[in-house]
Amino acid sequence: MLGRSLGSLICFYLLASASLPTFANPVITLGILDWRDEAKAASSWEPTLAALKQQFPDKQIELHQLSLEGIADALAEQKLDYVITNPGHYVQLSQTFQLAPLATLNNPFFELAQQAVGSVLLVPVENQTIQTWQDLRGLKLGAVTFDAFGGFQLIWDELAQEGLDPKKDFVKWQLTGFPMEQLFDQLASGKVDAIIVRSCLAEVLAVEGRINLADYRVIGERQHSGYPCLTSSQLYPDWPFLSTGKPTAAEASKVLQALLKSREDQPAQWAAPLSYQPVYNLFERLRLGPFEAFPHNPLLNVIYRYRYLLMLGSGLLILLFAHHIRVGYLVRKRSQALETAMQTTQEKQQELAHLSRFAVMGELAAGLAHELNQPLTAIVNYAQGSQRLLQTLNTQTFPQQESLLAVTQKITIQGKRAADIIRNLRAFLRKGDRGLEQLEPQELLQEVRLFMEARLKQEEVELRLHLPEKTPLISVNRVEFLQIFINLISNALDAMQANSGKKIDVYVSESPASKYLVFNVIDQGEGLSLEASQRIFEPFFTTRKQGMGLGLSLSRSLAAAQGAKLELLPHSAGGVCARLEWPLVS
């Protein structure tokens, strides 16, 4: 259990008085890392023991000198109240046990308490082949154990920073275990080429007369101002005095008081606890103690270290992604709806365009029929008149009478045929849905607005509808009504192109005796010239450069076909009023 160190356990029965402990817990147990000869170690902790003894006269103070593993085992069995160990071991233990540093060793040799523990690599002074860390390659090195803080890990950190991995066949190791002094014997006997020891150990041994400092040389020497010993490493805070979870807070406070109290002109052996963060940082670099699980790969390490942040980040990312997908879906859905709406409008407009094209062709045919019918009528009339004249002639006196009669007959027939062709074409183009519906004028006008919306917006013209509160239903062919109105609004827009102000007013009212529903479409355009106003309803008459001159003529025909009347009147405020009288059926 306690292993080798159990045998070396020494108990000091420092009894303050003869009386035996009558308290529930009369013993205070201290675990101390044993790193040097036991006797020396024991003596160095003398002031601490004395202070505690003074503070707790009724208690028995037990001091156990333990190895690294020994302390861990004792802690596991809850045998210790307090622990004194090196900073590295403390950090390692803190991973498993609840240890609170009550104080840090106050060593009068060191100017700065946080620069107390260092490590040094020594070679015999006569060995000149070893100058740098790199020269150690392939040599045999001595150390106490890989777990030693000042005895190995600090040098390991230095080697690692040089890019050398001491555990990977870089050197051969001779691990002796504690006490550390025996390493000097190994070096002296030539069993190893270099040794790693805690800083100041060499100086102490020299003072004790056990070695001669001049026999050794330091590799990778570092200078720290105010630090009196040879060192090859960075420096770390001195040993902590640790409280385990066992003692009560009151007792721990009393222990702390004792530790900090100076005795007999001597400064206290302990001072207020320092931060051991540099040790944590070192262990993180070396992947030791609490950081053992950290991956060596720097990328993985970063990932491992920031795993919670990364998880949060990826969670957010997933949420963001989900949000993105959702937004995309909504956008797609809405644009689809929009597209459908646009398509519907487009289809509607196409349908209307088709119908109006059809109507325009009908009107074209009607215009053509009218124009062509006149000469055809004249031809047929002449032919028929000629026929009558020829019939009155005598065959005897006019022998060609018969053949001329036949020819005039043919002229008549062909003329009528030509007229029939035009009539058929017109009839073909005119046929279509002539169904009448009873519709709300308001709704029809709104539909007109829908169709004209784009142009109205484009030309920044406001279309204002003025309807009485109640309008009777009118009997209309919806498409034709829309055509008429779209035509009128479109004409109004054309007329107003040069003007600003830009309003089209549509007034709806019932005529007296409710015979008609009157729609007045009033623009603010240029108005009509006298010539234009006389000819405006003629097919192919137009005041525009572009345009066939069929719009109004068609509108009038469409209106007339439904019994309505369409006329253009000059408006008092300039512009034109298109007046459409739609019959009301009682």
Binding site: N373, T377, N381, G415
Partner: protein, 216 residues
């Protein structure tokens, strides 16, 4: 002068000069007199009812349409019948024309015989209307020449009263009634009681049997 006996005239109204000319030529071949009307406005300044005739006009004309003219003719109580022509007739148009009192409706180009028959028929209608109007006017003229007493006697006569009864009603002698009767028939230019009743009917004099009682 008897207007009804005058030669018939066909009035032509069409915005297309070629059509008018060809129609003139066609109608001339059958011996119909034609006169061209320059425009719809001019129509009402013409002596349309002064001789038998017929108005032949296009439906679709600039400014005034044939249908509008038809309505105006009706309003002015002109007797002349109208025949309409159109290059692109449809049912609605034809129905409207007939409702407004058109005598006939032709789609251009037309069969000459049908047009001529229709024209002759219309002219005949006009001739009779003129005759009837002339007769009515002459009767009105004659009626106005009667004395008050003669009018009273006439009213009784046309209701079939005997001379004796009339004398009683008017407190005069039957002989005087006979004198009045002779004079009024002379003035009305009728030779029998039947003719007198016919004239009274034409003039719209009261013949109702109910009303006779009141006068008795």
């Amino acid at each position: 002068m008897n207007k009804a006996k005058l030669p018939a005239v066909v009035w032509l109204l069409d915005d297309e000069a070629q059509v008018v000319e060809s129609l003139q030529w066609l109608l001339q071949t059958v011996g119909l007199e034609t006169r061209v009307v320059a425009s719809g406005q001019d129509l009402f300044n013409l002596p349309l009812d002064q001789q038998p005739g017929c108005l032949l006009m296009d439906v679709r004309m600039p400014l005034t349409s044939g249908l509008d003219l038809l309505e105006a003719l009706k309003q002015q109580q002109l007797l002349i019948p109208s025949i309409l022509m159109s290059g692109h007739a449809d049912v609605t148009m034809a129905v409207r024309a007939m409702k407004l009192g058109a005598a006939d409706f032709f789609e251009k180009p037309f069969n000459d015989q049908q047009l001529l028959d229709s024209l002759q028929a219309a002219i005949e209608v006009h001739r009779q209307a003129i005759e009837k109007q002339q007769l009515l006017e002459s009767f009105k003229q004659r009626l106005s020449e009667l004395t008050e007493r003669e009018k009273q006697v006439m009213l009784q006569l046309i209701r079939g009263k005997q001379a004796k009864k009339i004398a009683d009603n008017l407190n005069i002698s039957p002989k005087t009634v006979d004198v009045h009767r002779y004079n009024l028939m002379q003035k009305m230019q009728v030779e029998s009681l039947a003719e007198l009743v016919h004239a009274a009917l034409l003039l719209g004099l009261p013949l109702a049997f109910e009303s006779t009682k009141e006068n008795l």
